[in-house]
């Protein structure tokens, strides 16, 4: 995924957020998936659509690490979410 690709939560994704973390039911999933740690932070950051670079910058500040490391870390997660329809591009 290019760093300039804009990512957003898919409107059809059902989710809840609370002290327990996040649970997400993507259009392509049969069961809700629990998100904690980095995954929860990514979901929260995507409250507004962001490019991959913007997302990595936000998370790098949160976790005190560099943008390249974050970009590499969140890539697989975003690929899973794109496949299930939890997030969309554009």
């Amino acid at each position: 995924m290019a760093r300039s690709t804009r990512i957003a939560r898919a409107p059809a994704t059902l989710w809840r957020s609370g002290p327990f973390g996040r649970v997400i039911l993507a259009p392509g999933d049969a069961e809700p998936v629990a998100c904690t740690g980095t995954a929860a932070a990514v979901w929260d950051a995507l409250a507004e659509p962001l490019t991959l670079e913007e997302l990595a910058t936000v998370l790098a500040a949160v976790f005190g690490t560099d943008v390249d490391t974050v970009t590499a870390d969140v890539g697989p997660l975003l690929a899973i979410w794109r496949a299930s329809g939890a997030v969309i591009e554009g």
Partner: protein
């Protein structure tokens, strides 16, 4: 402090005038009892938020337990909302007017965040004239009706709701009105469809009742739904009064027009008593409220220890307009279809005995 008392305090957490929760963690035995109550009363999310805010003292194990149960409750509501969207879309495509009731709507519109509110089924309201068509739509989607109709046309004309169950056990309650019997028959059903609020679920705009009608429905549910109302139902009533811009005077006036002022008063009394909230003008009004003779009789059918579906239906006879309507209503009550009997009473004889017992309950209520 008993589990029930602690649960009452938890149910009020976050609302103005709420009592304090325990400031030291419960022991294992007391926690196990409270945990059962929280799950049954659908209060796990509120307890989770109370613990998160430090208002409810818990051990680390208890906190982890609450968080796990909160996540489980929210996972269920997501599955229910997916099912809601499917049913709602199918009904709208068939030209049926629909309003989503209770959990999915109040969670988003009347609570601080949807994750404060758990629910366990899907409730939809449709106009009586479209009730049978709506049932056919749900059946075509694979849902099975739980009980047969008393007589053809009874549900669309007099019924409260019909439960449909899908293959995996998820339940969809298709409502025509808010309650069985006299109170349900008094609701101005046209008014419920004249205006609507909109709630966005999964990117779809879903119609629901306006806030005043959501509050009145919450009162019906709290006052008449179960002999011992669920705490989550009482919290809904309290939240409408204490944490939204509800016009309570307008709501009470509308309830009076429906012949249901006593329902609102009972819901408020139960709420303030059970949740231990500080005094409030709404609760003081409820304490002073004097129910009419007709309301007392109708309430008895719901609140008596001998309450039954039959007693509630019998109490509704007087609310059915016209002699022809009353005859049709009584005929369905006394001479229902055999398929209906098979699902409820075993015989016409048992039916008649229950109707006779129901008549006694209604009379005692009037005494």
């Amino acid at each position: 402090m008993s589990a029930a008392t602690v649960a009452g305090a938890i149910a009020a957490h976050g609302l103005p005038g709420a009592p304090s929760c325990p400031d030291t963690p419960l022991d294992d035995e007391a926690w196990a009892a409270l945990r059962r109550v929280l799950i049954t009363e659908r209060l796990v999310p509120v307890a989770s938020y109370a613990a998160h805010a430090g208002a409810l003292a818990v051990t680390e194990d208890q906190r982890a337990d609450l968080l796990a149960e909160h996540e489980r409750a929210m996972s269920l509501v997501l599955l229910l909302e997916r099912r809601l969207l499917g049913a709602y879309g199918a009904l709208r495509s068939a030209g049926v007017d629909v309003r989503v009731l209770k959990g999915p709507a109040v969670a988003r519109l009347d609570h601080p965040d949807p994750s404060w509110r758990a629910f366990g089924d899907v409730d939809l309201l449709v106009p009586g004239a479209q009730f049978d068509a709506a049932g056919r739509v749900l059946a075509a989607r694979g849902a099975t009706r739980r009980f047969a109709e008393a007589r053809p046309g009874f549900d669309a004309r007099f019924g409260k709701a019909v439960t449909f169950v899908e293959d995996d056990g998820i339940q969809i309650d298709l409502h025509r009105t808010f309650a069985t019997g006299a109170f349900g028959l008094g609701v101005d059903l046209d008014a419920l469809f004249t205006a609507s609020d909109v709630v966005t679920i999964g990117g779809e705009e879903i119609a629901t009742l306006i806030r005043r009608h959501r509050f009145l429905h919450a009162c019906f549910h709290a006052a008449l739904g179960d002999q011992e109302p669920r705490l989550v139902a009482l919290r809904d009533v309290a939240a409408f009064v204490l944490a939204t811009d509800l016009d309570l005077d307008a709501a009470r006036a509308e309830a009076d027009r429906w012949g249901a002022g006593a329902v609102v008063a009972r819901a408020l009394r139960l709420t303030w008593s059970r949740l231990g909230l500080d005094p409030h003008p709404a609760a003081e009004w409820a304490t002073r409220h004097v129910a009419s003779r007709r309301e007392v009789r109708a309430l008895a059918a719901h609140t008596s220890t001998e309450r039954s579906y039959a007693s509630q239906v019998v109490a509704g006879v007087s609310a059915v307009p016209g002699i022809t309507g009353k005859l049709a209503y009584v005929r369905a009550l006394l001479l229902p279809d055999r398929r209906y009997l098979a699902g409820r009473d075993a015989s016409y004889g048992a039916r008649l005995r229950r109707a006779w017992a129901a008549r006694r309950v209604a009379r005692r209520g009037a005494a």
